[in-house]
Symmetry: C2
Subunit: 156 residues, 2 copies
């Protein structure tokens, strides 16, 4: 898979979602679902305000897309997310039959695509997801670092 | 981990949830979350009616439990589910910090605990989940078979 200028444009929209999370005091992670060149789902991390461990950006974006088109199958769609999806979100992406995943920075502690596990490459899956990482890594890592630094300083 | 009579009682409540799914024309899968001997979350599969690939029994039960106690951390809780959790739900269980998982039948196509992957055993996870399968396997497999046979007959 290759990264086009259009892909970069959509990743900037995922970063925009991450910034909404940040402005609400949540870890800045954002995602968009794109189908036929159109954004049909948006989501950002609301783990704390939602009081749920499951309110990840990808889950919210997939739910948003599914409710918009009235179908759980998103097989013509691509997902853009600022961080490598975790195990749960990787599983959700497979269930939703998303075709392509573009992510930003890798997530060594929780990543389910290339870090902790290679979920999309498991033998025997009923659906194959294409994936590529590395979009806007510097910008995304800086955004995360600034967020956590601010949190630490507030705690002092 | 061993299976007690109390565990069997809670699995029967998960089977009850599965039967609600069945009565609504959904694949009969059910789950409950138990904390200090009390059921605090219930869920059943609503993939079709919910028009979302993410509406699995475990996710619903975890969301229900989290919203009941107002916290995403369920670290004193056990989850009982009729089928082996999929990759997504295994990831969700880890995020919610659930301590013990009891499941019924294995799921060769999607199972993320002992079938397609061994998610709970991945090295480097920040949370360890105890798990055991094999509760009421015959009853659960029969329930599934009857459901799919009925679906096939209706389609004829």
């Amino acid at each position: 898979m290759e990264i086009s200028d259009t892909d970069k444009k959509f990743m900037l929209l995922a970063i925009e979602q991450a910034k909404i999370a940040e402005s609400e005091g949540e870890v800045p992670i954002g995602a968009v679902v794109v189908c036929n060149g159109e954004v049909i789902g948006r989501g950002y991390n609301t783990k704390n305000s939602g009081k749920s461990a499951l309110h990840h950006a990808e889950i919210k974006a997939i739910e948003d897309a599914s409710s918009k088109i009235g179908d759980w199958r998103l097989d013509e769609c691509s997902l853009y997310v600022t961080l490598e999806p975790c195990l749960m979100c990787s599983g959700a992406i497979i269930h939703a039959r998303i075709r392509n995943v573009f992510f930003g920075a890798e997530e060594p502690k929780f990543g389910g695509v290339v870090s902790l596990a290679h979920t999309f490459d498991i033998e025997g899956l009923n659906h194959r997801v294409n994936y590529i990482g590395g979009l806007y890594v510097d910008e995304i890592q800086t955004m995360m670092k600034v967020f956590f630094r601010t949190i630490r300083e507030k705690k002092k």
